[in-house]
């Protein structure tokens, strides 16, 4: 691409500063002049939304920590103290607990967008793998955070999840004892989980910097899945992308606020309002909704070790996606077959999520096994073969061409906004 514009400091102070620390120039070239494909649709706004959610979680979390007590005997009561006695403590806690769910809503949309438009393909492999790492870190952080209120589901969820490590042959039991800091989930477990829950968001923030760095090195993918060639294919990040991101961020906040203010416990479990009790096992131990597909995969395999391996593999396989998908064409817009398989895959993931919340019995198990098989087949069988046999549609010559061929004659009034697509 031609000519990245450079920052020209105007004031004497900024000129002085720019010679010593060119931070204004960095911001300018990364978030103002940065060329962004002009055909990006609203699905591309979720990266910004995710950054917002990370900041929101860190801010609410830091304030919650001022009132929370990480001790097995006091954690549950200190959360109730936050809910009752701390000024707007109920708001902070509900923002934080629902914020975790909204974070995952946004990341799933972000990931499926990447899958649909082939955002993981050359040269964006590292960008994609950093995203998979971010997703893993988010899962770890979410899990650690859910144990902190020290309710029944916190305790038993922690017990079940840490027990995955006991599947490691030979040293499993030792590893689990080491993780727990004892012979069962207890106060040492809670305290280390709290420490790590505070640490990991900053690790996430660090990897986000790498993720954005990699993004800015290769440029954004776009719905056409072809690289920008001229200045006609791009618009400046500000005001074009910023105005679009800002609108969607506020729209997303409305969904967030709906849960926080009106159904704050919908995404949680009633059992977590019962203080942790090692002597009483809840009737159904169910993880948070965002882990349910993987929980279904775990339970679909009738062997401890292979169940855990399958669950881990179901995420690790994502990191190999850039090489498993053999198609040279990125966007599903020009891949008629892949587009259908994509939606089947979405349905399979939703189905696994639903099955993860069901008791592992009867037809649910059979369905889980079929969908687990399909989940892996999508990556390991369908995608490698599809790239070889699929007859793709002709790609447009340029992004500008693809936009113009969508039927907006030059000089005509702007068409009414359509749902789901823009530009």
């Amino acid at each position: 691409m031609s000519g990245h514009s450079t920052y020209q400091p105007q004031s004497a102070f900024m000129k002085w500063m720019e010679r010593r620390l060119p931070i204004a120039g960095l911001v300018y070239s990364s978030f103002i002049a940065y060329p962004t494909p002009r055909n990006l649709n609203y699905w591309w706004t979720f990266g910004g939304i995710l950054s917002f959610m990370l900041v929101a979680q860190i801010i609410t979390g830091v304030v919650l920590v001022m009132h929370y007590t990480p001790h097995a005997d006091m954690a549950f009561n200190s959360v109730e103290h936050i809910m009752r006695d701390v000024n707007y403590g109920w708001l902070l806690r509900y923002l934080h607990s629902n914020g975790a769910s909204m974070f995952f809503v946004a990341v799933y949309i972000h990931m499926f967008r990447g899958l649909y438009y082939g955002s993981y393909k050359e040269p964006r492999e590292v960008l994609w793998i950093l995203g998979v790492i971010l997703y893993l870190l988010m899962m770890a952080t979410g899990f650690l955070g859910y144990t902190l209120p020290w309710g029944q589901m916190s305790f038993w969820g922690a017990t079940v999840i840490t027990n995955f490590f006991s599947a490691i042959p030979g040293v499993g039991e030792t590893v689990v004892t080491w993780l727990w800091g004892g012979f069962s989930v207890g106060n040492p477990t809670l305290q280390r989980f709290f420490s790590l829950h505070y640490l990991l968001p900053f690790v996430i923030a660090g990897v986000v910097v790498l993720h954005v760095w990699a993004l800015h090195a290769v440029g954004q993918n776009n719905p056409a899945g072809i690289e920008p060639k001229t200045d006609k294919d791009v618009v400046a990040f500000t005001p074009y992308a910023t105005s679009k991101d800002a609108f969607m961020m506020v729209a997303f906040c409305m969904v967030y606020a709906w849960f926080v203010f009106y159904t704050p416990n919908y995404l949680g479990h009633a059992d977590n309002y019962i203080p942790a009790n090692p002597a009483v096992t809840p009737a159904h131990i169910v993880p948070e909704w965002y882990y349910l597909p993987f929980y279904a995969i775990l339970r679909a395999i009738p062997d401890k070790l292979f169940g855990v391996l399958a669950m881990v593999a179901s995420i690790v396989v994502l990191a190999f996606l850039p090489w498993l998908d053999t198609s040279k064409v990125r966007s599903a817009r020009y891949r008629p077959l892949y587009r259908q398989f994509f939606w089947v895959f979405v349905a399979v993931c939703l189905g696994l999520g639903w099955l993860g919340a069901k008791p592992a019995e009867g037809g649910y198990v059979l369905a889980s096994r079929i969908l687990t098989f399909y989940y892996f087949a999508h990556f390991l069988i369908i995608l490698p073969i599809l790239g070889k046999i699929e007859k793709t549609k002709p790609l447009p010559n340029s992004i500008a061409d693809s936009v113009l061929s969508e039927g907006v004659p030059i000089g005509a009034p702007a068409p009414a906004p359509r749902a789901g697509a823009s530009a």
Partner: protein, 293 residues
């Protein structure tokens, strides 16, 4: 080895799964609690102070002999969005209770309660509570209304997001209080158990706590089990979610603000992008003054 047992539970469940549904569909399945109309439901929901006061009377006269309310402080009885007592009335309620404390001389004493105190538990400790109640301590009631639920099933769990239905806990509690019946002839009631059609497994340790006419209301409300069960449930919803009214009120303001802001941002975005849509041939990626060529 708890962990072994859990893993066995989680991982071997699929193996025996095909036989399981038969046992789940036993003759005494638990009915879904009937849906009640609650004043605190919905986006504009509010507690009714009179109902909370009636509920509090039931807690004081009936429930508190076995159940603690340890998270709730006396002063909160006078908080906005609650039962609507004055600070003096809340202090008077507190003074009726004896609180264990340590005197300035270091001796254990019992003193009159103060507004800052929390409701004292009826038993000295959990073991004493269990010993006095057939082996299982009666649970604390502070967050009970949020700690019980029942399965909504597809598609209702999705519909609930939009209708904001989240009163499973209150529906369950009020149903449970009215759900005491004679056990069916073919039902083997364990000793110490009481038959309740809404309780999972139907054998509940708590004997029927409320009956018609048991508590005398001061405001002329009907002294019926139906009324009692609604009033105590509303009170327990308040103890579980004391800031519900503030939450819903702030929610309305936030939603209105976000709606207006998103509308403004949408039209801002539209205006910015009009040029791109109308005259793409004139589009310049960056303002010319910013180029450094």
């Amino acid at each position: 080895m708890i962990k072994r047992a859990i893993l066995a539970l989680v991982l071997t469940a699929p193996l025996g799964a095909f036989a399981a549904p038969a046992s789940a569909q036993d003759a005494h399945s638990t009915p879904v609690p009937p849906k009640q109309s609650w004043s605190f439901a919905g986006p504009l929901g509010k507690y009714q102070p009179a109902q909370l006061q009636r509920g509090f009377k039931i807690y004081k006269e009936v429930c508190s002999s076995c159940h603690s309310l340890s998270q709730v402080s006396f002063r909160s009885l006078a908080d906005a969005g609650g039962p609507g007592y004055s600070p003096a009335q809340a202090a008077a309620v507190a003074a009726e209770y004896k609180i264990k404390d340590i005197s300035d001389a270091g001796e254990p004493i019992e003193r009159a309660g103060r507004p800052a105190d929390r409701f004292p538990a009826p038993f000295a400790n959990e073991k004493a509570a269990a010993a006095a109640n057939g082996g299982v301590a009666p649970p604390d009631l502070s967050v009970m209304a949020k700690a019980r639920t029942y399965e909504r099933g597809f598609p209702w769990f999705l519909v609930d997001i939009f209708t904001q239905f989240q009163e499973q806990g209150p529906d369950y509690i009020s149903a449970l209080l009215k759900g005491y019946e004679d056990a069916p002839k073919d039902f083997q009631l364990p000793s110490g158990g009481n038959y309740n059609k809404y309780f999972a497994g139907h054998s509940i340790a708590m004997p029927k706590p409320l009956s018609d006419g048991q508590v005398t209301y001061d405001d002329g409300s009907p002294a019926t089990l139906d009324q009692y069960s609604k009033d105590i449930t509303a009170f327990l919803m308040w103890t579980a979610e004391p800031h519900l009214m503030a939450r819903k009120r702030l929610g309305l303001q936030v939603m209105f603000f976000l709606l207006v802001l998103s509308g403004l941002l949408y039209f801002t975005k539209k205006k910015i992008w009009t040029q791109v849509k109308l005259h793409p041939e004139q589009l310049q990626a960056r303002p010319p003054t910013e180029y450094k060529h």
